[in-house]
Assembly symmetry: none
Homo-oligomer: 209 residues x 4
């Protein structure tokens, strides 16, 4: 009996927003932030230039809305890995596989996120940069928790867990670069499997001595 009238406009709005986001994602991930113009995004989305500014108040905001979405998915993954049941190695294996799947599923997001990392951060407002850094720190913290567990379990070497987290993250990110630059030659899925199987093999050895 109660009308849902107030809600009815949202689907349309959401659709539009999605169209813009898709267009922006495509362009930003292909051409990068600087070379993508708002006019192009609007054109690609099939709307007027001004309409973009109804949804985001600036190019920067649009960009970071996408970047953050991408980051959040990964943060979420790491968090879930840290909180799941199982040994550290199991967690890492799960995380590795899920990460790869995420990247394959959302290649554009990965590219975008990646470009942002090397982007001239000086370009952006400090608030956004700050948020990015916090995100990164959070990822490392969660990773560190898993690693600390692994060291306790004796499957990971008894080294500085922060450094191990950075190195692990670095390894994965470094592989991502290779993959993004030449996806034909370097299959990220296969690479991750190799890493995990090597890791498993190595984990058996006595670290402590």
């Amino acid at each position: 009996m109660a009308k849902t009238l107030g809600l009815r406009k949202n689907p349309l709005k959401d659709e539009r927003e999605q169209a813009f986001k898709q267009a922006a994602l495509k362009l930003f991930s292909t051409k990068g932030y600087h070379k993508t113009t708002m006019a192009e995004v609007a054109l690609e989305a099939g709307f007027g230039k001004g309409t973009l500014y109804w949804y985001w108040k600036s190019k920067e905001e649009l960009y970071f809305a996408l970047v953050e979405e991408s980051h959040n998915e990964f943060v979420d993954l790491v968090r879930r890995a840290a909180e799941m049941e199982g040994t550290a190695l199991e967690k890492l294996a799960w995380l590795g596989k899920e990460t790869v799947e995420l990247h394959y599923r959302e290649r554009d997001y990965t590219k975008l996120s990646w470009k942002m990392r090397a982007e001239e951060l000086e370009t952006f407002s400090p608030e956004y940069v700050e948020r990015m850094h916090e995100n990164n720190a959070e990822i490392k913290r969660e990773l560190q928790r898993i690693i600390e567990q692994g060291i306790e379990e004796g499957t990971l070497p008894p080294a500085d867990p922060y450094y191990l987290a950075c190195m692990l993250l670095g390894l994965v990110e470094g592989m991502e670069i290779q993959w993004l630059e030449d996806p034909e030659a370097f299959d990220l899925r296969k690479a991750m499997e190799m890493v995990l199987s090597l890791g498993a093999k190595v984990a058996g050895q006595r670290w402590s001595d």
Copy 2:
């Protein structure tokens, strides 16, 4: 007593070129490609804007001249590692240490090079991109040679050497990122030492089974 002035203007010319390159390196590595203007480079170098164009025909060319210089140093390092005497592990250890030293010595170059990696390559002229890719491929090839030697020697796991090269390169590049983003918290030298020591420990095990 007689001046060689009429003979060679190169000394002067080289000085200027160096001044420009230094200025450009500083600015590009600090502010990134897009946020650095030719006017700033000229100002920083202490010469006229127009003069820049006597040495490089465009901003792009100036940028890539620097990037390439940086790359060449690394390519050179990898090549020398591949050609030196010793076991694969020794070569990798040497390469790792030298790489780190290179980065510390030329932090600006590293930063520049790194920014360029994720930079909107698609937006640069294909000729430059092509050259970058070729450079990268060369690095991987040399790395692969070392790795193949290691597999033969039994100190590296008997896996696809191209993938191992990519992974190794990825690891180092990934660590570089961590270092560049927070040099206080992540000491690249220490990290490299950890990697090498872990590698050495692990290398002893029987891979083949």
Copy 3:
């Protein structure tokens, strides 16, 4: 008990119109024509942006509706002064006092009107500009009638009455400017009293010689 709703929507309509006008007056007089947006006016009035266009067909029209209202009040005052009983000096004294009271009562209107005077009239549609000029001319005509009376009565100098009207108007407008720019330092009421008392003192002398 029976609602008159079906009969007249005007009460509602008028309310809205008043709300819009009030909002517009406040904003235009504070921020000026160019810096005030239709969106702000609508927001301030508490109605939708589109609704504004039901009452006025353009920003310009809204603006001039207000300006004209303000002008009309003054025209009305001058007209009443010209038509009242009494000597020219009495009329001018009454007009001077009433004008000041009007300005104090409707400071926003005065400000608005004043801004419009120097506003880039050339940029408004000719129809509006024409109307403004006609208004001004009317004011001068009425003023001139009073002045002619004064000259006949011998209390005003026997000079070109049109010029005297312009000068009188100029004096008052000039004082308005001083007042608007710094109402603390320049009290318009006090100033007008000074003018009138000086005028009275001076009026006694023999003009004709």
Copy 4:
């Protein structure tokens, strides 16, 4: 024998700057600040749009450069009047005449300055607004000095000199408006003569009683 080479470029630069200023003056005084575009100014001056920014760093700065030039001329006039030899009445007469001549000579400047007065000051950076106010205050201060002298000499009524200054300034500014709005019907020269002759007539009377 010494070359004046270093100076030789200035004439050219100055020429260019003059051309821009002339174009800007014409447009600003005709169409006002908001409706004049930088592109128009450049076009009118016969140069490229970007060149404007070589001489002034913003539209605002260009505008105030002109406004200030205009103001300075008038400030200078008032200052010279205050400092010349003679009675207050002589000073005011001289000032009145010179002011009128200035306006006739530089009608565009007068228009510009005038428009600026009513312009939405909120539009401009506080530094400029501040400067304008200071200018105005200075004018009133000098005027006040002359008036104080006149009161002492008994030729001006013994009233608050600040108010008299404001009123005098108001009168002249008010007349300027009349003139600018309809120069055919209201001849500023004639009007000023009338004011001065009336003033002279009136000045003879005994103010004090």
